[in-house]
């Protein structure tokens, strides 16, 4: 059976060029980049070259990049690292964090952890498209606020936040600005300078790189506290022997992503728009997220009277990989917090379907999905007590 992967928001296949670049660093250049000998120096050079490549795609400087084990660690390091360093300033800045209600769990759970430690966190609401209101942000800032952490683009509904405006406000009030750009990078141009971003999280496996490696951009001059103490790698901010093959993979993925950005964006947008147009022909189907301010590869729908996990499984039977925000598919048996935050009712959230496109998807893939989905929706509706038509 033909298999079609439309879950690139969950993970992407590693690009062949990325794999080729990584392979020699498992055995040929296996040395510890911190070692003084030639084996170490070869690996060191590769790590530093990757650092430049990651910096390049963000329009940052190489010495502003720290390698981590992925998006989750980058979020934790950026947020906790800033919090722990600011904590002592009693009476001044240091106790108040502003975030949004639609962040990835890597950010939300970190903020909840910090609340338990005594920090105050404001979770900004979003409009029906998933966009924060700048006015809410400005009103939330107090003299105690030291950090704003708001994602670049949402992983579920694909909504892109007003990053430049947030950055301007953060700068105006002298507040640090962290953004989780895990889903945005390689799908939209990013410029940490122009956007006034101080801390930014990256993950390799969402951009055709390997799993278990990522990076945190830390603006020159911004100080954070480390989470992993040890041998003092990465300016003491992240100890542990370098994952050389992974780092090389991340670097190559960023390099490819940068050279291909225009081409990728045009390709994905074309497929996405066709997918949205075709699928919205289904009776009582709706698009979640913003019609324009959304990631070029994200199409997110909801269908009345059916449940998302069933939908994912029916699509899987047809060889199509998809995702949902329904309660039954979650470990906590709750509908997605993102879909709740945009004002959907639980039963609307349960009927959601996320299709996230990738480089290798074709128009035929889109046509295939659009051709099988109406029948699946109908099959499930015929079984549903909520569909009385």
């Amino acid at each position: 059976m033909k298999r079609i992967y439309m879950d690139h928001g969950a993970s992407t296949p590693v690009d062949k060029e990325v794999i080729d670049e990584m392979i020699p660093y498992f055995d040929k250049y296996f040395g510890n980049p911190s070692s003084i000998h030639s084996f170490g120096r070869e690996a060191f050079d590769a790590v530093e070259e990757s650092r430049s490549k990651v910096a390049d795609i963000l329009n940052a400087d190489a010495d502003e990049i720290i390698f981590t084990s992925g998006g989750t660690e980058s979020d934790n390091l950026g947020i906790k690292g800033a919090a722990y360093l600011n904590k002592d300033k009693i009476g001044g800045k240091g106790y108040h964090i502003i975030t949004s209600s639609i962040e990835h769990p890597a950010v939300l759970a970190t903020c909840r952890h910090l609340e338990k430690q005594g920090f105050n966190v404001k979770y900004l609401p979003v409009d029906k498209y998933g966009i924060i209101r700048i006015k809410d942000l400005e009103e939330a800032i107090s003299k105690d606020t030291f950090l704003i952490t708001i994602m670049y683009a949402n992983n579920e509904i694909g909504t892109i936040e007003p990053i430049n405006e947030i950055g301007r406000i953060a700068r105006k009030h002298d507040v640090l600005f962290h953004t989780d750009a895990v889903q945005a990078i390689c799908k939209t141009p990013i410029d940490v300078g122009e956007s006034n971003v101080d801390l930014l999280s990256v993950s390799a496996h969402k951009i055709y790189g390997p799993k278990g490696v990522g990076a945190l951009y830390i603006r020159n001059g911004v100080k954070i506290y480390p989470l992993a103490h040890g041998g003092g790698h990465e300016k003491g901010l992240r100890s542990s022997t370098y994952n050389t093959p992974g780092i090389v993979g991340l670097g190559k993925a960023c390099e490819l992503g940068k050279t291909r950005l225009k081409e990728d964006m045009a390709h994905l947008k074309n497929l996405r728009d066709k997918l949205i147009k075709d699928i919205l022909k289904i009776e009582e189907s709706y698009l979640n997220g913003h019609p324009e301010k959304r990631l070029v590869n994200n199409a997110h729908f909801r269908f009345t009277a059916i449940e998302g996990e069933s939908l994912n499984m029916m699509l899987d039977e047809k060889g199509i990989a998809s995702a949902t925000g329904s309660a039954c598919s979650s470990k906590k048996l709750q509908a997605s917090h993102v879909l709740m935050a945009i004002g959907l009712k639980p039963e609307e959230a349960h009927g959601s379907l996320r299709l996230t496109l990738g480089r290798k998807n074709t128009e035929e893939d889109v046509s295939y999905v659009a051709s099988v989905l109406p029948d699946i929706v109908e099959r499930l509706r015929k079984m549903s007590p909520l569909w009385n038509r």
């Binding site: 639980p346 007590p385 569909w387």
Partner: protein
Amino acid sequence: MADMYTEKVKDHFYNPRNVGEIKDADGAGTVGNPVCGDIMTIFIKVKDDRIIDIKFQTYGCAAAIASSSITTEIVKGKTLDEAMMLTRDDVANELGGLPAIKMHCSNLATDALREAIKDYRKKKKK
């Protein structure tokens, strides 16, 4: 993802038995709510205290649909007392097991069945 389900669950999900509505049902029971994400209705026809026909409608995950389907299969032809004794563990066992997190879905199927039987008994008394 589908591999968290047994072949039996997948069989009953992809080819559900006894789907639909019985217009002149002797009893009907609905349980669940839209918040948790599973709702099911079971319709029964009863003769001489036996379930002679049964159908279901389910809005929910694969576990919920498969549990409804197999429940209708198990109790068709059984006496009402026998059907009342069916537990969620029986349903899960018949399906070759369900992931722990999905046990509440099999609960709904037996609950809906009991509601349908109670509905029948209540109507009969009148």
